[in-house]
């Protein structure tokens, strides 16, 4: 390599070194001035001044570049630092070429020494620039970076971010939980965020994140830088909450988090359509239900509960049938069939069934919905006369029995017509009534025998009983004894009258009176039959009332002798701590008072009034949704300074609160136009 070539290389190196030094110096000046301006609270245009000063300083340090246009100046600069060259290099730079001169110019290794000198001269400005940059990026007074994080913060956009109000516009992106299967939604500057519980909420905005602090229900939340702006991530809570963003520029913003609860499935049991009492638990029947959910169903089934027992002793069995996996379906039908035989129900057992469905809520669910319950009861033998049972087949017309009251009416009518009738006709009609009286008498005999634990009398037995004529109580008991073979034990009691006779006495009296009436009717003397028929009717009525002293569903009424027991208790209570119930709902009263204060505040500080409305809304969301909705609309109108809407919204809030409308001078009047 010739000496001339080496000189050309050195000139390019010196030019680069000068540019680097100018950059270091210019950056030091600009950053230093910027740091001083920021700490001193200088206005935004001071940034421009700092940049211009830096450029000027850098320009000043670039002036030596013009000296490097001449290669002789470069050679002289080297000769000054390497005297042993004895101007050989300068001579070469001037264009003189000879082997001796070339050898002298390259005789000393000057090119590495001068490069070292140049590099050393760059150390000081580089260090200074680095120190200033650290000071600018890290504020030792606040412990925070002045321009955010990252080396690229000191840029045009970073400087601009310092001047943007971070709460000027707040964007909200709501991402519903995965099980809902819905797309994210976006809104700008909302007063409230309404979303399903568990939704991801991202609040974003432009400006410096370091200037913002956030709290959600008084718990502080961290704000993350996001490009040139900020972001705050939240999850929709189960209860309403307030999010407060505070800017160091002195501005606050409130957002209401209004959770939308995932409704539980609505289940309608269509079959069986009503409760039923059956005599025998046999056969199959269909179950059909309709299930529906607002978001999506997971599964559904029929639940059965079988209760058995009486009094204090009950046992229960439960089962689930017809399980159906629905995989997010909104609406579906549920069907199953059930066999009563397979359940092995006994008299007195109650089968209760209902349809249930679960939704797909994985956040705070699953929600469980249930239909109305249907009960199917198997009747006991002893309650056939007091419960509604399934429709029985039509009765045999030949076996129908006229009531004693009806027989009396027929007999009275026959007595009235007696004079106009021939004896044959009178006897025929009288015998017809006698036949009905005999059937009724047999029925009374059946009741008495059933009470003794025996089957009803057979036809033969009835004929036999009818032919026996009038019976004494002893005859009846003997008859029952012959049928059951057990009545003797029941009779083993002391006293003049056994219990079995006592309870059957009215019916026995009726039985005998009917026999007497029948005899008179059979000989065509209806007038003589009437007195015993009336006695029989009275006896039947007496028996009916006696048996219904206590029916299920109508417990006996105990009358307490208040006068006798009044204040006879030995223990004394404490009466002084009892409190009088407040006349009106204290919550509503407090909310009305708060709204009054907000109304008074509105004229002085609309922003604060809007925030107060939002705070009131959070409280009302839990138990007064109509009031919460009205408060949200009022807050929106207030923030938009919508003078036309504000009075209407206020009136709506008052109506929901139950307060009468009030005209106030403090409310801003209509100013015309719509925003």
């Amino acid at each position: 390599m010739t000496a001339h070539t080496r000189l050309l290389q050195l000139r390019r190196f010196l030019q680069a070194a000068l540019v680097a030094r100018a950059i270091f110096v210019g950056a030091s000046i600009a950053l230093g001035l910027f740091a001083v301006a920021r700490l001193g609270g200088a206005p935004s245009w001071s940034v421009v001044v700092a940049v211009l000063a830096g450029l000027a300083g850098a320009g000043a340090f670039l002036r030596p570049l013009r000296l490097l246009r001449s290669l002789s100046n470069v050679a002289l600069w080297v000769e000054e630092r390497t005297p042993s060259l004895r101007y050989a290099l300068v001579t070469v730079a001037d264009g003189v070429h000879s082997p001796a001169l070339e050898a002298q110019a390259l005789g000393t290794v000057w090119w590495s020494d001068v490069r070292t000198i140049v590099l050393r001269s760059l150390i000081k400005p580089a260090v200074v620039a680095l120190v200033v940059a650290v000071i600018v990026l890290w504020n030792p007074f606040t412990g925070r970076f002045l321009l955010g994080s990252g080396a690229g913060a000191i840029s045009g956009s970073g400087a601009a971010a310092q001047n943007v109000d971070p709460l000027a516009v707040v964007h909200v992106v709501v991402t519903p939980p995965a099980y809902a299967g819905k797309q994210p939604t976006r809104a700008d500057d909302p007063t409230s965020v309404e979303a399903l519980v568990g939704s991801a909420i991202a609040l974003t905005g432009d400006g410096n994140a370091a200037l913002l602090t956030a709290t959600a229900d008084s718990a502080s939340r961290s704000i993350a830088p996001r490009g040139s702006g900020w972001s705050l991530s939240l999850t929709m809570p189960a209860r309403p909450a307030i999010v407060k963003l505070h800017s160091s520029k002195g501005r606050d913003r409130l957002f209401v988090l209004a959770p939308i609860a995932d409704a539980v499935p609505v289940v309608t049991l269509l079959l069986p359509a009503h409760d039923t009492i059956v005599r025998r638990a046999t056969g199959r029947f269909a179950l059909h239900a309709q299930v529906r959910d607002d978001i999506g169903l997971r599964d559904a089934a029929f639940e059965l509960v079988i209760s058995s027992g009486t009094g204090e002793n009950f046992t229960f069995r439960s089962a689930t049938i017809g399980h159906l996996v629905l995989s997010g379906t909104i609406e579906s039908a549920l069907d199953a069939r059930i066999s009563l035989d397979s359940l092995q129900l006994k008299p007195g057992d109650i089968l209760q069934l209902r349809a249930v469905a679960r939704d797909g809520n994985t956040v705070n669910g699953p929600g469980l919905g249930a239909s109305e319950t249907r009960s199917i009861r198997v009747a006991r033998a002893d309650e056939y006369d007091s419960v509604a049972v399934d429709a029985a087949p039509p009765p045999d017309t030949g076996g129908q029995v006229l009531s004693q009251r009806m027989l009396i009416m027929l007999t009275e009518a026959l007595v009235k017509r007696q004079r106009t009738l021939s004896h044959a006709v009178l006897l025929e009609e009288s015998l017809r009534i006698a036949s009905d009286e005999r059937k009724l008498r047999k029925r009374v005999g059946d009741v008495v025998f059933q009470r003794m634990g025996a089957d009803p009398l057979s036809e033969e037995g009835a004929e036999d009983l009818a032919s026996r004529g009038k019976l004494t109580p002893e005859d009846i008991v003997r008859l029952a004894d012959s049928v059951t073979g057990t009545a003797g034990n029941v009779m083993d009691v002391e006293g003049d009258e056994t219990p079995i006779l006592a309870i059957n006495k009215p019916l026995l009296e009726a039985f005998n009176a009917m026999w007497e009436a029948g005899r008179s009717l059979e000989v065509g003397e209806p007038a003589k039959a009437l007195p015993p028929m009336r006695i029989a009717l009275a006896a039947i009525e007496k028996a009916r009332q006696a048996e219904r002293i206590y029916l299920r569903g109508r417990p006996g009424t105990e009358i307490v002798d208040i006068t006798k027991v009044r204040l006879t208790g030995k223990d004394k209570g404490v009466q002084s701590i009892r409190e009088v119930r407040p006349p009106i709902d204290p919550v509503a009263r407090r909310r009305s008072a708060t709204f009054e204060r907000v109304t008074n505040l509105m004229a002085r500080d609309p922003e604060a009034a809007a925030d107060s409305l939002l705070l009131l809304r959070v409280e009302a969301l839990t138990d007064a949704p109509a009031l919460a909705a009205a408060l949200d609309d009022a807050a929106k109108a207030l923030r938009k300074h919508d003078n036309s809407a504000i009075p209407l919204m206020w009136m709506r809030v008052r109506r929901v609160l139950g307060d009468p409308p009030v005209q106030r001078a403090g409310i801003a009047p209509w100013q015309g136009g719509l925003r």
Partner: protein
């Protein structure tokens, strides 16, 4: 002012009339210890009937599964809004029992979540002072039912007062005797009933 009338709830499912002697016993105790004007006999009121709103306290008990009809549920919700107190007692005294499971489920659907009541609740000082909360029943001490001594009662409050009082302690059995028989008891076990009545009338 009309006399206080003790009302027993009649609901369409279950055995609502399983404790027929409790009303007269409670009425006797109210008269025995307080000057509250009380009717000498109780009434039975269907839960679906508008006449429910005539009574500040309704007593509901039973052994069997409880399922409210829509009319019964709607009426109970209105009853709570108007300040009535529904006292529900599990006659099975068994938290695994079907009455407890179904009744709490239905009541939750009707009233919202049911929470344990603090033993310092004003209910326990409404007339007699029960320092340890609800008095223990003999059924709990004998280990019947779920073999537990329930430390607290449960309930739902609205606007600072109880609208639902739920007991798993089986007061229905504890108080299910003729009031004349109180003279055989060294300590009257129906005094807590007086607190319930007094609370319902004064809070």
């Amino acid at each position: 002012m009309t006399d206080f009338v003790f009302a027993t709830a009649q609901y369409e499912s279950g055995d609502w009339d399983s404790a027929p002697l409790v009303p007269s016993n409670v009425i006797d105790s109210v008269a025995r210890y307080t000057s509250i004007a009380v009717a000498p006999s109780g009434v039975v009121v269907p839960l679906s009937s508008p006449s429910l709103f005539r009574y500040p306290l309704i007593y509901l008990t039973g052994h069997l599964p409880v399922r409210f009809s829509p009319a019964e549920r709607g009426n109970l919700q209105k009853y709570a809004e108007r300040g009535g107190l529904l006292f529900v007692d599990d006659h099975n005294h068994d938290i695994d029992g079907v009455f407890h499971k179904t009744a709490t489920e239905e009541l939750t659907r009707t009233y919202g979540a049911i929470h344990p009541i603090s033993n310092k609740h004003p209910l326990y000082r409404a007339f007699f002072v029960f320092e340890d909360g609800p008095p223990t029943t003999s059924h709990e001490l004998n280990g019947w039912g779920d073999n537990l001594v329930h430390k607290t009662l449960s309930g739902v409050e609205r606007n600072g007062r109880l609208v639902l009082l739920y007991s798993s302690k089986d007061y229905s059995s504890e108080w299910g005797y003729h009031p004349e028989n109180k003279r055989f008891m060294s300590v009257d076990n129906t005094k807590f009933a007086v607190n319930i009545v007094t609370y319902a009338l004064t809070r």
